[in-house]
Amino acid sequence: MPSSHRIITTVWQRIRNWFDPDELRSVGTTPDYRFSLANERTFLAWLRTGLALVGGGLAAAQFLPALPLRHLREAISIALLLLGGAVAIRAIDHWARVDRAIRLDRELPASRFPAVLAVVVGLGALLLVVAVLAGALGG
């Protein structure tokens, strides 16, 4: 119980930091503005990655023909939409963590997220190839 309480407190603290500029500014020194702008552009690139996933999900829902497995089209669409939303939320958190690191002149936060995302998208594509092949050979 105490550990779950701590996790909730930590998550809440982070979400509060997203909307509290003073909290972020209070640590370290103001970095070279070029680093800040690079961090901002990385954040925007992640947002566009999320938007591409959301757009893909919306396109799958309305432009894909019905697939051999029932509701597979809807499942693909929802998976892409949720992934896109998660990428956007994670982009905020990552931006805040990088900003903190460059203010404190520390190592940038390491993250498994890009690798996990790449593997998930790759597996999803592979699954779709199997579904399409199964439809072509079986149908």
Binding site: L37, R48, G50, G57, G85
Partner: protein, 100 residues
């Protein structure tokens, strides 16, 4: 522009990144609207919500997209834009679930 011109064109690149993001949000909103307007009353309501979210996102992005290279991104702006996009994803999920 600031007095000392940055040879890396950082402010310009950042402005253009904001503009690309606005463009991407617009395309996704149109896609959501296309799906929503085929889905009866719930679809129309969610489309209206998506358009409101689009308006909010553009309003938030605009100052950074045409800004004068002020090197100071607001945490609130970034968070709000990210949450708007997550909201758009959620609207999409509801649209797909309602359409099933």
């Amino acid at each position: 522009m600031t007095a000392a011109r940055d040879p890396g064109l950082q402010p310009e690149r950042t402005r253009l990144a904001w503009r690309r993001t606005m463009l991407a949000v617009t395309v996704v909103t149109i896609l959501a609207g296309r799906l929503g307007l085929t889905g009866g009353r719930v679809g129309a309501l969610l489309t209206a919500l998506a358009i409101l979210g689009w308006g909010a996102t553009i309003t938030l992005c605009w100052p950074r997209a045409v800004g004068t290279g002020v090197p100071d991104p607001s945490v609130r702006t970034l968070s709000a834009v990210g949450l708007c996009i997550a909201g758009l994803a959620l609207i999409g999920v509801v649209l797909v679930v309602c359409g099933v």
